[in-house]
């Protein structure tokens, strides 16, 4: 089990109803974490359309959860 802080942006935040939450999870990696939160919050975006970041840097879906880290799921961006 690891406790992480999860940040939600854009349509993910609208779906979750919060922009940040603390999550205790036994997910094997960041991809499994997203899938469990997707079920909980009903996120419309499949994992294939997202990127993931940990502690302010892009990360891999296969990265393990680090205790105390800050995880963000990055929907497709629409800058500019």
């Amino acid at each position: 089990m690891a406790r992480v802080t999860v940040l939600y942006f854009a349509s993910l935040r609208d779906a979750a109803g919060v922009s940040i939450e603390s999550v205790e999870s036994d997910a094997a990696d960041l991809g499994a974490l997203y899938e469990s939160l997707r079920v909980r919050h009903g996120f419309p975006l499949p994992i294939g359309r997202l990127r993931v970041a940990a502690d302010g840097a892009f990360a891999q879906w296969s990265d393990r959860l680090r205790e105390g880290s800050e995880v963000a799921f990055i929907p497709p961006v629409s800058g500019g």
Partner: protein, 138 residues
């Protein structure tokens, strides 16, 4: 020195442009993105840009570092607005100075393309017909 910046209010281009001009740079190319009154055929009243600030700043800086490595340019800057914007407001500005125009054009194009595709900034449009939505392009 930071070359990529987020701004939560309207910003003046002049200081950033002036910082890029120098006696060695014969060419200066710039790009500006403005809030249009329509998108994909729908009338737009205004929009909001939201960023994951820490990651956007880091990734934006990386894009500019890459441009300086890939192209024979003197210097480059990018500023992106966040927050609420009205029609006709400046959303993003890119400026590149170089000895020659080939590199200035190529780098400014690279920077705006990469910023729009990689830097975590999301656009929320309010439509005249009342709906609103996040743009998450395929």
């Amino acid at each position: 020195m930071k070359r990529f910046n987020l701004s939560d209010k309207p910003f003046d281009i002049a200081p950033s442009r002036d910082a890029l001009l120098n006696a060695h740079a014969g060419a200066f190319a710039s790009f500006e993105g403005w809030v249009r009154d329509h998108n994909d055929g729908r009338a737009v009243n205004g929009l909001r840009y939201e960023a994951y600030v820490a990651l956007a700043e880091a990734e934006g800086e990386r894009v500019l570092d890459e441009a300086l490595e890939k192209f024979d340019i003197v210097d480059a800057r990018c500023i992106h607005r966040i927050g609420d914007l009205a029609i006709g407001e400046l959303a993003v500005w890119v400026g590149v100075s170089a000895a020659h125009r080939d590199a200035a054009f190529a780098a400014s194009r690279y920077i705006i393309d990469e910023v729009k595709s990689r830097v975590p900034i999301w656009k929320h449009e309010r439509y005249a017909e009342g709906e609103a939505g996040w743009l998450h392009p395929e």
